[in-house]
C-alpha cells in the first residue's frame, strides 16, 4: 500500500494536522501518536486537513473516536476540513457529520475556533 504521512502546523493557537496518503489499520498508529502528542502538549483545538488524504479505512476513522472525548472534556474539538468526495462519503455513511463539524476549508474551521 501507498505511504501515509502527517504534519502538524500551529495556526494562531489552533493545531492543524495535515494528512497525506492512505490512512488504514497499518498507518493509524502514526496519527494516534500525533494526537497523543498534541493532547499531552495541552493542545486541544485541532483541525484536521484531509486535502491530500486518498483513502481512510475504518481503523483510520477509529483514531478520531479514540481522542474526541478527552479533547471535548478539555474545551477543545477536532474539526475536519477539505475532504475529497470519496473520503467525505466514508465519513458521511458512518454518520460522522452528526458527531463532528466538517468544513469546506481550513480557514472556516480555524475561524470557528476563534469565535
Amino acid at each position: 500500500m501507498a505511504e501515509f504521512s502527517t504534519s502538524v502546523k500551529d495556526q494562531s493557537g489552533v493545531s492543524v494536522v495535515y494528512l497525506t496518503g492512505y490512512l488504514d489499520a497499518h498507518t493509524a498508529p502514526m496519527l494516534e501518536s500525533n494526537f497523543s502528542d498534541l493532547i499531552s502538549g495541552g493542545k486541544f483545538k485541532i483541525v484536521v486537513n484531509f486535502k491530500d488524504l486518498v483513502y481512510i479505512s475504518s481503523a483510520g476513522l477509529g483514531v478520531f473516536m479514540a481522542f474526541i472525548e478527552k479533547i471535548r472534556e478539555n474545551a477543545g474539538d477536532i474539526k475536519l476540513t477539505t475532504m475529497n468526495d470519496k473520503v467525505y462519503n466514508i465519513f458521511d455513511l458512518l454518520g460522522f457529520p452528526l458527531l463532528y463539524e466538517i468544513y469546506k476549508t481550513e480557514d472556516d474551521a480555524i475561524k470557528k475556533f476563534q469565535e
Binding site: M1, A2, A25, S57, S58, A59, L61, G62, V63, M65, A66, E69, K86, I90, L93, L94, G95, F96, L98, L99
Partner: protein
Amino acid sequence: MNDVFASKKFNPMSLVMNLGILNAIMFLGITFSDSFLSLIFGKISDSLKNPGIIFSILSFVYVTIFAAIIIQMFLIFKEFYFLKQKRSSSIYFNTMVVFFLLASFSSVFHFFSSLSYIKNTFVIISVILIVINSIRISWIAFIVKKEKISLLLLSVIICTLFIVNLVNSTDTNTHHRIFNEFSGSLGSFFRILMIYGSVYFAVLFFTTLFHIPTAEAFDRKAQEVSSLQYFSKLITQVLDFDDLAETVTEIALKVSNADASWIIWKEEKTLRQLAHKNIGYIDAELITGYIFRERLYRDTGTYFTENLKKFEKRSQLNEQYSAVAVTPLETHNQVRGFLVVAKKGDFIFDDEDKSAINTFSDYASVAIENSRLLEESIEKERLEKELDVAREIQRKILPAKDPVFDRLSISSVFIPAFEVGGDYYDFFEIEKNQSDNSSGKFGFIIADVSGKGISAAFIMAEVKGIFESLSRINESPKEILTKANQILKRSLDRKNFVSAAYGVIDFEKETLSIARAGHCPVILIRDGKVNNIRPMGIGLGLDFGTQFGNSLEETEINLKENDLIVLYTDGITEAKNLELEDFGEAKFENVLLNHSSQNVDEISNEVIKEITLFSQQGTQHDDITLVILKWKHNFNKDGEKEWLNSAHQLKTRVV
C-alpha cells in the same frame, strides 16, 4: 612444563622461555659445582679417584639432573623444529639426531687417540647438519610484533648462555670431570646440544631482526585472515540481535586495532547505544554527542574519522580517547546505525584501518539484515497463525447456509481478506409458522467491524451474540440497533465501532423495514431502477449518548414482485485494481441492474465475476460480503415452482 608438550597449541614464546630457564639452571650447576663440591669434599680429583658414598650419590644426582635437562631440551628443540614446518622434513632432523648419537658414542674412542678422527668427523657432520636445520626457522613469521621484539632480546641471552655452558663443559672443571667419570658419551651429547642451541639461537636472533620491519604488516594480514573467520561466525549468529551486536563490536576491536568500540543504533526518534566494548556508557554518550554535533546522523552514509583532541569535554572522559572512526551499518541502502571504534593515545586511524573497518561493517550489515529478516519472518508466522484463528472464528460465526422461503430467495457470498476484515452477516427467523409459509417475520443483519484480525473477530463474535438475542425480542430494526448500541457501550473500545444495517421482512404484511447504523446503503432494484435505501444513522459505538437513538431512522417499504434487495459491505465498492482504483458504486449497481432478472445465485455470481475481472491480480484488502434477497409475491405460479425445487440446497459459498 609437561603441559607444554601435551597441548599442541602454537606457543613458541613459552618454549623459548623454558629453554632459557633450563639453560640458566645448567649454568648455575656448572658454575657452582666447582666451589660447592670442593667445599664439602676437598680436592675433587681425589674424591673422583676414591669416591665416598656421599660423593657418589651427589654426583649421581648431579648427572641425573643434567641428563633430565638435556632430554627436556632436546624435546623442546624437536618441538621447535617441527613448529609451523609445512613440508615433511623429519628426515633432516632424524639424520641430525643419528649423527648426534654417533658423535656422542664415538667419544668412547678417545682411549685410542689414533681413532679420534672418527669422532671428529661425526661432530663436524653434526655441526653442518645443525647449521642446515637451524636456518629452517619458519615459525618466527607467525608471532606478533611485540613477541618478536622480546624474542630478539631473549635469543641473545639464551644464545650467550648456550655458548657459556658449552665453553664451561669443555674446561677441565668439576662438571667436566664428573661427566667424564660417568659417561663420556653423555658429555659429548651435552656439548653437541649446546652447539645446536648456540647456533639455533644465533640464527633466530638474525631471523627475528630481519622480520621486525615487516612485523606490523604481517600482523595485520594475519588479523585480516582471522577476521574472515569472525565474519563467518557473525553470519551464523543472527538469532539474537543483542548477541549479534556484542559480536560485532568485539570483532571490530580486533580488526581495527582500536581500544574501544560500540554501536549507535537508530531508533524511531532517538539514537540508542549498545554493545559497549572497553568503554563506559557515559564516555560513549559524550563522544557520540560530539561526533554527531554537526552532522545529521540521518544523512551520514559514509565512513568518517574524528579527532577528539579538540573535543571541549574531553577532560570529562574517563579514558583519554584521541580519535574515533565511524562507519554506517546499512540494510537495504538505509542507514540503520553506526559502528564506532575509538583509539587512545597518539594513534590515529590510517587507510588500512579504514579499509578494515569498512569491509567489516559491510559484513556486519549483512549479518544484521539477516537477523532482521529472520525476526520478521518469525513475526509474520505468528501473525499468520493469529489470522488463521481469526478466520476460523469468522467462519464459525457466519451462517452455514442460507435459509429457504417460498416467497423469498436468498443468496449470500462471503470472501475473506487475508487479514480478517470483520465482516458479519446473519439471518434470523422470527415467529416462523411451520404450517404457514406466508406468516412470520424474517430478520437479517449485515455489519462491518472496524479494524482487522483477531480483535475484529472477537468483536464480531460479540455482535453476533447481541443480535442473536435482540432479534428474538421482535422489535423494530431501529429499536434493535439502539439496544445493540447500548450493550456495546460496555465492551467496545473507544476507537472501535461497528457499521450495521438491520432489516426485517414481514411476510404477512409484505413489508421490509430497515434501519442503518453507519453501514453502506441497502440497494433496492425495482422495475429496472436502482434505489439506495439510506436512512439516517450513526455507526454502532460512535456515540453512546442520545445522539445515536435520536438520529436513527427506520424506513419501511412495501415489497413488490421481483424486488431485489442487496446488502453489501464496502469490500465490494472498495475492491481495488492494480492502479488502486475502486470498483465503485456505479459499476456495482450496473451489474446488479443488468442481471436483475436472473435468480439470486446467478446475480451474485455475476457480481463476484465482475469484481474478480476488475481487480485482476490485485490483493483483496477487505472482506467481501454480498447478500441478495429476491421477493416473490405470487409464489404459487407454475413457473416459480420449478425454481423453488432447485433452491433447496446449501447456498452459502464461502470462497
